[in-house]
Symmetry: C2
Subunit: 306 residues, 2 copies
């Protein structure tokens, strides 16, 4: 094997599109990392073990068994093996459990962390709970709302290390569908960005969210009739969708003057949400998503061992 020190355990974040693995020391240090694009959505349940072994083979001892702890979509019904959702309210730091997965290679002992489910106003998450667990390692006293923008944005009420309520907005997926697959795609292909156009579209949608359906097609018509720059139309669509999301989250109580608000995600997406909220006079903090997942997996590993 290629590591100077044998890993105490192995952490894995297995999302829909990608899988990332880390060789971990007993004290929670990252000894090595590897990743591939063999996301859970691309695999049949019988293929997961081989993909995992291929990713971590250089770290495995010849005789001992190493524990592997996985979070994310590998635990979904269409994944490696279902790790049933745990109901909220749930204290991330003590109410955790993990499902053992049958594997054939004797060098690994695999477990998958469950996702979370909300029964009243049905909702589910899988993977974000581990990022949140990493977040509360850094911010144990956080009492507010954490938003994790991405394909399916999660808005999560966190208090005393407990998740009490959450809501999923398909904002990212809607942007992708409209920008890449609808008639608007002809008018939005640009790698540039028009910040003032984003701001104006965001504020117009906050002021009249019910006019959303009428505004969409004008992005196409403006291009046809006025040759509107594509970067402008792209920023407008983003502003409209985020406006619709913020409007929904205000309505649902996830955004309120009395609740601290934190964003976890890519720098670019977090900046967009912070900019939008700033237009409404709402303050929020952004936290880099990097390493939060592995920190969460490390916290879960310690918790499950104790």
């Amino acid at each position: 094997m290629n590591l100077a020190v044998a890993p105490a355990w192995i952490a894995v974040d297995w999302g829909s599109s990608f899988v990332r693995a880390w060789a971990m020391s007993q004290s929670g240090q990252i000894l090595a990392a590897n990743s591939s694009d063999q996301g859970a959505a691309k695999l049949h349940s019988t293929q997961f073990e081989a993909v995992l072994l291929n990713l971590i083979q250089d770290w495995l001892p010849s005789t001992n068994t190493v524990k592997v702890l996985i979070c994310g979509m590998a635990g979904s019904r269409q994944g490696w093996q279902e790790a049933a959702y745990l109901p909220i309210p749930l204290k991330l730091t003590s109410d955790l459990s993990a499902s053992r997965v049958a594997s054939h290679d004797s060098r690994i002992q695999v477990s998958i962390l469950p996702g979370l489910k909300q029964l009243e106003t049905p909702d589910v998450m899988r993977g974000e709970e581990t990022q949140l667990l990493g977040f509360i390692q850094q911010q144990p006293d956080f009492n507010g709302v954490v938003s994790l923008p991405g394909t399916h944005n999660k808005w999560v009420r966190v208090q005393a290390q407990q998740i009490s309520q959450f809501s999923t907005c398909m904002t990212g997926e809607l942007f992708e569908l409209l920008a890449e697959h609808s008639v608007l795609r002809h008018s939005l292909q640009s790698s540039d960005w028009d910040a003032p156009a984003f701001d104006a579209a965001f504020l117009a949608t906050i002021a009249k969210p019910q006019a959303f359906m009428q505004r969409l097609f004008t992005l196409r018509a403006r291009d046809l009739l006025q040759g509107t720059p594509k970067a402008q139309a792209r920023a407008q669509l983003s502003g409209e969708l985020i406006g619709l999301e913020i409007s929904a989250m205000q309505e649902a109580g996830f955004i309120s003057p009395t609740l601290p608000l934190a964003f976890i995600g890519s720098r670019k997406l977090c900046d967009l949400y912070l900019r939008a909220l700033n237009l409404l006079g709402i303050e929020a903090q952004a936290y880099a998503a990097e390493h939060l997942t592995v920190q969460g997996l490390a916290a879960a590993y310690q918790e499950l061992r104790s």
Copy 2:
């Protein structure tokens, strides 16, 4: 040729997905009809003439020249030849024009009807104006709003045979994208329908249109957690999108107690809109779309000749 009487002219509705042609008598009777799936979106500009000739060859005389009048996407920038949009306000029955198209076969003389453009609140239509021209042949005194539900729903203010304002809602395309290409597709595949679920989702969206972005993902979560029937989820998505559309059209003044409202479209879609509006106590009439296009083309043909 296969017709007992030579056609006086030929009417063509060339949409994005399909092309339909009719051999017409001088008095506006349909002598024969033909169609194919060679829609404008599938063709390069150089291919249109061959497709047309293939469709109408049995109707053509060996010596004379027959006029062919086309409406729809064949006149778009990506079509056979662009027929520039006419600006509104426009009187359908007298402000019409048509663009001559260069063709190689001496047996045909081809013209394409223009689409319409609205400069204030940019919007465009191409094809619907011909259906509306057909509609006002039947309802010359109509003073109200005509809605043409489809992929891109048009809402059109019609008064004294004039179009003064219109708005396009991408409701049909959004339904298609979400039901067939988003994560919701796993929870919506059904050919059944749940009318009470449609009603409830429609009314909930009318009551709180700003909560749309929060409601979408619950369609998926309900399936995962409660095994909600897929017909129910499909009807709910439809109710939510039409709720968002009706809410926008109320806001924009296209739906008002003082304006008669007419729907032109497929029986199934019209029924859905009438059912929804009925829940709000709003009356509307539905008109079958069939033959309105050819009636519109016939009216345009008479107008252009006179």
